[in-house]
């Protein structure tokens, strides 16, 4: 189960990035080639490929190369690893800490 927890950490780290979440979201509609996916993001292809590799190494997506086209496919089973009770609690506390952080660093709320 400790291994499960480590897997969960990996998946959450992968999902902590907005670009990678957007990739996951787009792949939710069906497989897409790297170039079709990458065109939607304001970054160079090498930068985008780093995100793809991160997603692939955590098993959230699979990629298949056919000729010159690399196609990405969402691995829904892997995504389900976060679908757990403890993960839900972690999300609640992560988001709560995000809100605390924005609150205490907001100059409007914290007069000197």
């Amino acid at each position: 189960m400790a291994q499960y927890s480590a897997q969960l950490d990996e998946v959450f780290v992968a999902l902590a990035d907005p670009t990678r979440r957007e990739v996951i979201r787009r792949l939710g509609r069906g497989p897409l080639s790297v170039s079709d996916l990458g065109g939607a993001f304001p970054m160079t292809l090498p930068s985008f490929m780093k995100h793809i590799r991160t997603l692939e190494s955590t098993g959230l997506i699979r990629t298949v190369k056919s000729g010159r086209v690399r196609t990405c496919v969402l691995n829904r089973e892997r995504l389900a690893v976060v679908d757990s009770w403890l993960a839900e609690q972690r999300r609640i506390w992560e988001e709560r800490t995000d809100r605390l952080e924005s609150f205490v660093t907001d100059p409007k709320e914290n007069h000197p």
Partner: protein
């Protein structure tokens, strides 16, 4: 720390420790971050001392329909350093087994060159209660990421 039951998180918050502490201990400040917008939080009791009450309500609407959110008690309070509270007993110290989950949360603050080293350790009850929650259909929304993804995807028109 039991990785099957507990969670930890650590954050460097770019604000002085006293500011973070006051966000935890002053009701009018606590209300502003405790629950996600647009839900409104109202603090009934925030008695930050050992045995003190931590009671909050929340409203999903225009602020007329507040429902109980948390009824808990502080166990340990070390000024500017540590807050521990649990919902295993309520604010009247009566043993409880509240929904959605029984927990003891330990918040630790320490000085850091960039502000505050903020750590959270939440200890949860045993997996039996987890199974119960599953049977009760506790999981929804983001709890089921797959489902949320499906809904998000379906709600969007293809580009």
């Amino acid at each position: 720390m039991n990785p099957d039951l507990d969670l930890t998180l650590e954050r460097i918050i770019r604000a002085p420790r006293a500011v973070v502490w006051s966000a935890w201990t002053e009701p009018s400040r606590f209300e502003k971050w405790w629950v996600p917008a647009p839900t409104i939080c109202r603090v009934d009791h925030l008695e930050v001392r050992p045995g003190g009450a931590l009671v909050t309500r929340m409203s999903e609407g225009d602020g007329d329909d507040f429902v109980p959110q948390l009824d808990a008690a502080f166990l340990v309070v070390d000024e500017l350093e540590r807050i521990v509270f649990t919902n295993a007993i309520d604010s009247a110290w009566r043993p409880r087994n509240p929904e959605p989950v029984v927990m003891t949360a330990e918040i630790t603050l320490a000085d850091h060159p960039d502000g505050t080293d903020y750590r959270v350790l939440v200890r949860h009850g045993d997996p039996a209660s987890r199974d119960l929650h599953e049977k009760l259909g506790f999981f929804d929304g983001w709890g089921s990421v797959t489902e949320q993804l499906a809904r998000l995807t379906e709600s969007e028109s293809p580009q």
